[in-house]
Structure formats: C-alpha cells, structure tokens
C-alpha cells in the first residue's frame, strides 16, 4: 500500500519513486585479489536488523542515497547522499 523513504534532498517520498540496488560495499581496487572481487560481486550479508543499502531517487532528484534500514521493522534510521556522504 505505501511506504515512505526519506530523501535528504526531497523529503519523504513513496518507495515507488526509488530504485533499490542493495548493500553498500566499497568497490575493490582494480588489482584486488579475485577473492575480494568475488565477495564484492556475489557475497551478501543478510542481516536481521540494521542494513546500509543504496537507493536511487529515480523519479525525483536522481541522486544515489545510502539508506540505513532495519530489515525486520523497515524503520529507516538514516538517509544520506552517496556522494556527499563521502566528502
């Protein structure tokens, strides 16, 4: 029926405006070991509770966000711009 995702730029918006990509992981260096790349591309934690995910505000400001979501309750603890969060 409805679920709102807080966008740091646009405010709370329905999830239909977003595209979710999944876990926030650091991309390994190009020369990292094959195992590091296997982990990055294929392996995912499946935690019950707090989880950092990439969400894209596709039908809004078109920014990629890092959303900290509780997978059990769907409560969202934090939402920040993926690029600006790094600076």
């Amino acid at each position: 029926m409805a679920s709102l995702i807080p966008c740091p730029h646009c405010g709370k918006r329905p999830k239909e405006e977003f595209t979710v990509k999944g876990a926030v992981l650091d991309r390994p260096a190009a020369d990292a070991t094959p195992n590091a790349w296997m982990d990055y591309v294929y392996l995912r934690d499946n935690p019950r509770g707090r989880y950092d995910e990439y969400w894209h505000h596709t039908s809004g400001c078109r920014r990629w966000l890092v959303i900290t979501r509780d997978t059990a309750t769907h409560e969202i603890e934090a939402s920040r711009d993926a690029a600006l969060a790094r600076e």
Binding site: M1, A2, S3, L4, I5, K12, P14, T19, K21, R27, P28, A29, A30, A32, P34, W37, Y40, V41, Y42, Y54, H56, T58, R62, R63, W64, A72, T73, H74, E75, D81, A82, A83, L84, R86, E87
Partner: protein, 988 residues
C-alpha cells in the same frame, strides 16, 4: 412478533421516505437508515443463510463487524456482493439480494447440510477429500468450488470510476466517537492540520446511539455542535464514510472513502470510491471497542443480537427489536440497553446476568436472573424462546428478541499492522494494543473498554493536546460539561464456555464454526492458534473474525488450560475491512493502466501508414504496409531490399540518449566502457561495450565526442533507463571525485536513421555542411545546420544496417517536419520509411547484436568483441572479472551465423543446435538460435546463434532442433555477417 419501527425517535428523517427492494420485495425506509435498520423496521429479520450449514441468519450488529447480513447490492456492472447491510446507507431505489440460498431465502435446499452436520465438522475437507488422488481435480475441486464463496461478483464492466489520493496531516484521528471528537476539537483549535476519519455516514460514533447528556445537551446535539465547529476550521478535514484500513511504514495510513456508494446514480465525473494514503506525523486510534457475542446454543437464530447493536437500532434508527426482549449479559452493557428499552416502553422480560452479584446500580423494572446463563435459544427462522439455566435448573422463556453481551474487545487492528502483537490483559479481560508504538497512540475505549463517555472525552482531548503541543502548536485540552447517564461497562471475567448448551453454539458466524469444532481441533492436536484457525476456518471469512477471534482464543485457552495470553492471537494484517479491487486499482486500468510513451515521430509514422507495436511503454513503427501487400513479410522484405538498393528512413528516437559533461567525462567513459574512450577525438563516434562488474555485457551503443568536455551517448531502447541509473551510480557512488555531470536527453531529440546507398544524396538536400565521405567519414559526428539554418541538429555517420548510413537527431518538436523534408528529398532516390522489423532483418544480415544476444550470459569475447576489452586501462567496470577462467575458455558459447541447408526450410529463435547425427537430448545441446529472420538478401531464413566454440566451427553441418514443436532443420554454421563481410559499403 418481529422487529418494528417506533412512532418517534432516532436520527432518521421521517419526512424523507425511501423505497427499496430486498429479494425483489418492495419496502420503505427513511433517509438516515442503514439497509439493516430499514430491514428491521420492515420486520425483516431473516436476511441470509450461513456459509456451510445454510442456517437462517439475522442481523447481529449495527456496524463493520457484521458477519451475517451480507447482501448483494446493485445490478449489472455495479453489482457488489458481500456488502454488509449494517454499513450500507439506504438510498431511493436500492436493490438488495440475499446470498447463499437456493431457490429462495425462505426455503433453501442447502439447509439440509445442517442434517449432515455431524460429518461436516472441523477438518471435514481435509479428511474427506484426501483420496483417491484421481478425484482431486475432477470431483472434489468442483464440489468445493460450488460450495465455497458467498456472493457472486459480476462479469460485467464496472461503469464507475475510482481514484487514489494522498493526504498529509499533523494529527490523524481514526474514529469520530467521543474520543476522536474531543481530540479533533482540541487539536483543531490549535491550528494543527487534523484529519478525522470515520466509517459512518456522520461523525459521532457511539454517541449517535447513546441517550447520555453531555453538558446539558443530548449526545446527538453535542455531536452536531462539535461538527459545526470542526467544519468551520480550515485546518480540519473530516472524512466520513471512510474506513482507515491499514497502518503502513512511514506512518502512512490507508483509508477507503465510499464517496458515492450511498447514492442511486453516481455522478460520473467523481469517483465512487477513493483510496486515501494519509501521511500523518502522529495518529490517534480512537476506534472504540467491539462487543463480544456469547457462545450458547442457537446464538445465531434471527432475533439474537448484540446488546450495543440493539441500542443503536433503538436510539439511532428508532427501531425496536421485538416486544418480548430478553438480555443475556456478563457485564453492565446489558443494563444500559434495558434502561433504553424501558424508556421506549419495552420492559425486558428478563436480564440474565452471569454474575452472581448482577448490577446493584440498576433501578429499572426488568426481572433480573443473577448467576444464570442462557444456555440455548430456540426457533427456526425467528427466535421463539430461550432456555435459562440457573443453579442447575432450566426455565423456558418465550421471547422474540435476545440481546447478548460477552464483554468488549478494543478495536486495535491498525495498531498491530506493523508487526506489533496484541497483549492480553487479565484486568481488561481483553487483548490490548502493543505499547510504545512509533507515531500511533491509542485512546478511549480502544485503550480501556471500561472508559465511558466522560473518560473518552477527557482522554481524547488530553492526548491530542500533548501530541500537537509536541509539534509546537499552542494547545490546551478541550473541556466538556458533566456527562449524565454515562453507562460505562467495567470489564468483567469473560464467560467463554456457557454451561448446559444443547444446540449448535456458534463462535464464528460467517464460517459456521462452532464451539465443538474448536474442541475437536484441540483434541486432534490443532490447538495452536494458527493451526486451529486453519483447521476450523475460524476467523477466515470476510469479517476476519472481528466478533469471533477473541471467543475462539478464549475457548482454546480453556480447552488447553492456559491463559488467552498464552494462546495468543493470529497476525493482524491489513485490510481491517474488505477493500474493493476498484479502489485499489484506482484510475489505473483500461487506457490509464500504464503510461504511453510516444516518439516525437509518432504522428509522422502514423500518417505514413505505420503498423505500431508496443515495446515497453513505447509505441514503435513495425512496418509500413503498401497497397497490394497482404502479409507483413511482404512489407518487411520490400523495406529491407529497398534500403540495400536505395534508401530508407527509420525512427530511432527511442534509443536512450545521455549528455555527459564535465572535465573528467572522457575518464568517466573510459571507466564505464570496456574499450578505450580517453582519446576519442572531438567529432568522432565510437561503438562502446558496457560491462557489468561480473564481466558480462550490460549494454552497447555509440558515444560521440561533441567537444572536449561534452559527450553524447546512445543506449539501447530497452536499457535506456537502466544505463542512466547505472551511470549516475558510477558518477555519484563510485567516483564522486570525477567531474562528470549527466542529463538524459532522450526526449529532446527526434532521431532518424537514414540508410542505404542513396542516404547521402538525400541528406545533402537538408544538411548545409559538407557530408561527403572525405569531409564526413564513417563514425564522424557533429552538429549540423539544417534547411538553410532554420534548425540545428546532430549528425552521426553510424550504421546498424551495414549500408552507408547516418543518424540525424533534431529537436523533437521539429522531427516530423524534418522527416517530411527527408522523405521529400529522397523521393527521387526511392526512399521509403522502414520499421523495427526491417531494422531487425538488416542487423541480423549484418551480424549486429542486440539484447537477444547480449542476454546477460555473454562476455565480449563470446561475440567476437575480445579486442574491445582493453588490456591497457587500469580500471573499468567488469575488468576484474571478465578474465575469469570460465569466461575465457575455448568452449564458451560464441556468436555464429546459421543457414538452413535447404533455403526453403527455416527455423525459429530459441531452437537448439545439435551436432550432426547427435540425438536430440539435453546432453547433446550445443547452443541456441538467438535471432532469426527471413533475409530477402540471402534468400532464406538466416540466424544468429550462440554455439559452443562457434567461432571455430564455421562450415559445420548441424541440426536445428525445436523441441517444443518437434521441428528439425538441417543447417550449417557460418560467419555471422551475411552481407558485405569486407565492410566496404560503410565507407563509401
């Protein structure tokens, strides 16, 4: 005797008579009546047949929990089954029909099921329909399907419209009874944005059925005064006829407003139902409490009714339940009813109170039987007598109506929709909402069933004051005068098992679940609340057990010797009451089902005779039939041959287009493509491969450098949105340090492919610049001036067909005009429009790949693009994984061409390749045809395929096998390029 209308009283307009029909019989009611009250006023107490045993059923409640009085309302496409008569407002001309009976409500053949009831107990279906297995589909399923269900939906199209809407507020109040009204007045006066929703046609809730006086005014006048004030406040929105049905993430509440379900002919411009999604900073649940039935024999006979419901019919609708009324109660609720009945001249023949002490405060005239129960009610289609059991002795009493009250359960459904579990309270003898809910508080009788009107008013006001004060509004709790006649019913010890029961004692009325069924479930090992629900079907009907669940839990608890809290509840999920599919779909059906995306050349294609095909949301031109062509193949073959001989014009506006700007644009492209882009010169286009991190190809397209810091990328139509998202991810999340800025310009440009030997001579009439082969060679790209400088566009010398070809992009609104001009310019050269079918044939002939080949399983090497994977670049998406052992092995599926040995034979895409002579088995599978088409150039079907080690097997004879159609086509693997293998045409 039966129920009847009193001479006076009630909130009905006796001047406004409404005629309606029930099962074809004409009846009269008044404006303000519900269908249920009007039926009772007409003495109609038998209103339906039960689900399993087809027992006669009457009206049990006056509200949303009604399990019995389910009717089919309306005709044709407006037919609405399973409508609760208690919730349906009466309107002139309403047509209602009873359900689940044949041939008539009065004489129903299905009622013989009752005689079979010893065999139809809990688990009957599971036990009976087990074997033989051959009977499952042929015998049992049709039988169950015939027996299942209540009303029947119409197959006709619903003529009405529905819509969805969003609303926002500081405080949402759910329920407009005393608690909700006090809260609304308090918060409304503070200036906070308030939304007050109530499922009834008017606000007031239980006050509308109450005879108490509040500050000298009658309860009804109090409501009317409050209504006037609330309506004068612009920050308060009142939504009546609106059921808040669910609580969702982000403190969004779902509600359905029945905008025009109470009128005979809806205004066609407005919806009949509106689905609200209400975003609330805070919400207050003021939904009150539901009275519980008592589980005695014959507790379903028409004439047996909830005590509060009987009070509603009496006070709100001016309908008396009968002349000899008895009351069976476990608490003080029955006495409030007794006093109201006496005030209307109907002295109850008995109040049977299970408590030894009864109600000492009662001063009325009715006979009180304390410490007693009604063990059985008797009668067929109408109640005739009851059996009172006291101290082991029975007494038969003639009655025509019986009210019952087994205590109250707070209506806490919404509070449990986000994972919270109800908590049993011995003190309240009820399940209460979970504590500490974020964004939702509970007040009034929904919090404590003992809260009377005064307590509800003060609590609603106080809680609202706190909530809006915390938001920064200056607010004090509204206060109200003294309440006179406040008959609150203290919680009492529940009476789950009534002693001495002889007849069928129903727990779940709608699903015909009896006390015995629950006992059986426990004995057979299905005593867990979730198992018992499924074993007995208790709580699984359209009412979702609003009346039955707590009684069922109480009985399970007793049978298992544990507390109801230890039995627990099943999970509360939306919707609180059924919501129509119409409301859930809203306006999004038919032509509004999904958006249509139109190319800027859509009108041009239409007037040029295109046959359109839906691809995603786009409408694309498939082919352009001409007079005399009777099949699509004729048109497509003509278009293809004409391009190879003359010229063609195709709308390629749907390709994704992305502007890439910034000082690091070249570096950025170098990282998102597998091939090199850093040194792409200004004025040049390059074909690029975009990989995923796992090394598989994601998308392909051309990117042109328009200036040092400005590139123009095209993507495939299907992946346009995905590639844009991906690039933004790379730019923002992976490499925010790069100066790169992206904008989708797909819709800015009308883009046309002009292909064929005469393409240049055609274009030269439009384009001002020199586009000779020397000045504008293959893969040139630049901004050009058109038609004497009237317009500027972008010209690219790229080819999908393998012919001399260009793509011209012009500002979208001028696309049609330019296409017209090109057709005019090319007329003497034989230019023709072509569609995506011809485009497909041309690219297969040239061995160009699309997402048929780039299907998520191929790496560049598989398609012969090994050299497009840069070894020199330090990093790009997919670099780390594309070189994995399995992705470079020699027996990878590789792109090849396929030709039938006999040109008269053909094969289909998806067919598999077998080595010559090999049996048609999965083990022998060598690969599959990814694309196929009839090539008028070659003169036979041709195909592209991904075949094991394919690049080294050109010339090998194989068998193309379509296992679904059992088609076998001998064929030969070959070079995937069927025209101009030397690429000479591209460069002329």
């Amino acid at each position: 005797m039966t129920s009847y209308r009193l001479e006076s009283g009630g909130l009905i307009d006796r001047q406004s008579r409404l005629s309606f029909t029930f099962d074809g019989k004409r009846m009269l009611g008044f404006a303000g009546d519900s269908l249920a009250s009007a039926l009772l006023a007409n003495g109609c107490q038998l209103v339906g047949r039960s689900f399993k045993y087809h027992r006669p059923r009457g009206i049990l409640t006056a509200g949303a929990a009604e399990p019995n009085a389910l009717m089919t309302i309306g005709q044709g496409g407006r037919t609405e089954p399973n409508t609760r008569a208690t919730m349906q407002e009466l309107y002139q001309g309403l047509e209602a029909a009873s359900q689940n009976r044949w041939p008539s409500l009065d004489f129903d053949i299905g009622s013989f099921n009752s005689l079979l009831s010893p065999f139809l107990g809990a688990g009957f279906y599971y036990k009976t329909f087990m074997w033989p297995a051959a009977f499952w589909e042929k015998v049992y399923e049709p039988f169950i399907r015939k027996a299942a269900g209540l009303g029947k939906a119409s197959y006709e199209k619903d003529p009405d419209t529905y819509e969805k809407a969003w609303a926002h507020c500081d405080l949402l109040l759910i329920g407009a009874g005393p608690t909700g009204l006090a809260a609304a007045l308090t918060a409304g006066r503070s200036g906070a944005r308030v939304i007050l929703v109530d499922e009834q046609s008017m606000i007031g809730g239980s006050l509308l059925s109450d005879t108490a006086r509040i500050g000298e005014a009658s309860a009804t006048d109090f409501v009317l005064t409050a209504k006037a004030e609330l309506e004068s406040l612009s920050n308060v929105t009142i939504l009546t006829r609106t059921t808040a049905f669910g609580w969702y993430d982000g403190n969004v509440f779902g509600a359905v407003e029945r905008v025009q379900k109470h009128v005979a002919i809806p205004n066609a411009k407005a919806p009949v139902e509106r689905l609200w999604r209400i975003v609330a900073k805070q919400a207050l649940l003021a939904t009150g409490a539901e009275e519980r039935p008592l589980v005695f024999g014959g507790n379903d006979i028409p004439g047996v009714m909830m005590a509060t419901a009987m009070r509603s019919y009496l006070n709100r609708y001016g309908v008396a339940p009968g002349r000899q009324v008895a009351i069976f109660t476990t608490n003080d609720s029955g006495y409030a009813l007794a006093l109201d009945l006496e005030a209307r001249g109907i002295v109850p023949v008995a109040i049977v109170d299970s408590r030894a002490g009864g109600n000492p405060a009662y001063t009325g005239k009715a006979r009180i039987v304390k410490g007693a129960v009604v063990s059985d009610a008797k009668g067929g289609k109408a109640l005739s007598s009851i059996v009172i059991l006291k101290d082991g002795r029975t007494e038969n009493l003639k009655v025509d109506a019986l009210a019952m009250s087994g205590g109250f359960s707070p209506v806490i459904h919404l509070a449990c929709h986000r994972g919270g579990k109800p908590v049993w309270s011995d003190a309240e003898a009820a399940f209460l909402a979970p504590q500490q809910l974020n964004g939702l508080q509970i007040a009034g009788a929904a919090l404590s069933t003992g809260n009377g009107i005064a307590a509800c008013l003060s609590e609603g006001a106080a809680k609202a004051a706190v909530l809006v004060s915390e938001m920064g509004f200056a607010c004090t709790a509204a206060s109200f005068g003294a309440v006179e006649g406040d008959m609150s019913a203290r919680p009492e010890k529940p009476l789950w098992s009534v002693p001495g029961v002889k007849g069928k004692a129903f727990v779940d009325y709608q699903n015909d679940v009896t006390r015995k069924d629950l006992g059986l479930a426990v004995r057979e090992g299905y005593g867990h609340v979730e198992l018992a629900k499924r074993y007995t079907t208790s709580g699984m009907a359209t009412d979702q057990g609003k009346l039955s669940n707590i009684n069922a839990i109480g009985l399970l608890a007793e049978a298992r010797g544990i507390s109801p809290g230890d039995v627990g509840t099943t999970t509360f999920r939306p919707f609180y009451t059924p919501v129509s599919f119409g409301a859930l779909a809203g306006a999004y059906h038919g032509t509004h089902f999904q958006p249509v995306r139109k190319s800027p050349l859509h009108e041009w294609a239409k007037k040029t005779g295109a046959v359109f095909v839906e691809t995603g949301l786009w409408y694309r031109s498939s082919w352009f039939p001409r007079d005399g062509e009777s099949t699509w193949r004729e048109s497509v073959d003509r278009e293809v041959l004409n391009i190879r001989k003359n010229a063609g014009l195709c709308d390629v506006s749907m390709l994704g287009k992305i502007e890439i700007c910034g000082k690091d644009s070249a570096e950025f492209l170098n990282r998102v493509y597998s091939n090199a882009f850093l040194k792409l010169p200004v004025g040049k286009a390059r074909y690029g491969l975009m990989l995923r991190e796992d090394g598989m190809i994601y998308d392909d397209g051309t990117t042109s450098r328009l200036s040092d810091e400005h590139f123009f990328m095209t993507t495939t139509t299907a992946y346009a949105a995905g590639v844009m998202n991906h690039l933004e991810f790379c730019a923002q999340a992976l490499w925010p340090d790069l100066d790169v800025r992206l904008a989708s310009s797909t819709d800015q440009w009308a883009q046309m492919a002009i292909a064929g030997p005469k393409a240049r001579t055609t274009l030269e009439k439009i384009v001002e610049e020199d586009i000779s082969n020397a000045a504008f060679p293959f893969l040139a790209a630049k901004e050009v001036s058109l038609c004497g400088g009237q317009l500027h566009g972008r010209l690219f010398r790229i080819s999908f067909s393998g012919e001399l070809a260009f793509e011209l992009a012009v500002p979208a609104g001028f696309g049609e005009s330019i296409a017209d001009a090109l057709m005019e310019a090319g007329r003497e050269h034989g230019i023709q429009p072509y569609g995506v079918e011809a485009l497909g044939v041309l690219r297969i002939e040239k061995g160009h790949v699309t997402h048929n080949e780039i299907n998520g399983t191929v790496v560049p090497g598989d398609l012969g693009f090994g050299k497009m994977v840069s070894q020199a670049k330090p990093d790009f998406i997919g670099k780390a994984m594309v070189g994995r052992e399995g992705l470079v092995s020699a027996d990878r599926p590789q792109l090849v061409g396929v030709l039938p040995l006999d040109p008269k034979t053909s094969f289909r895409s998806g067919s598999h390749i077998l080595a010559k002579g090999a049996a048609a088995t999965l083990e022998n599978d060598q690969g599959y045809i990814t694309s196929s088409a009839y090539s008028p150039h070659v003169g036979s079907t041709i195909g592209l395929a991904l075949v094991k080690s394919g690049s080294t097997r050109h010339g090998e004879e194989v068998l193309v096998w379509n296992g679904l159609r059992e088609e076998f086509t001998p064929a030969r693997l070959c070079n995937p390029v069927f025209v101009d293998q030397a690429n000479e045409k591209l460069h002329v």
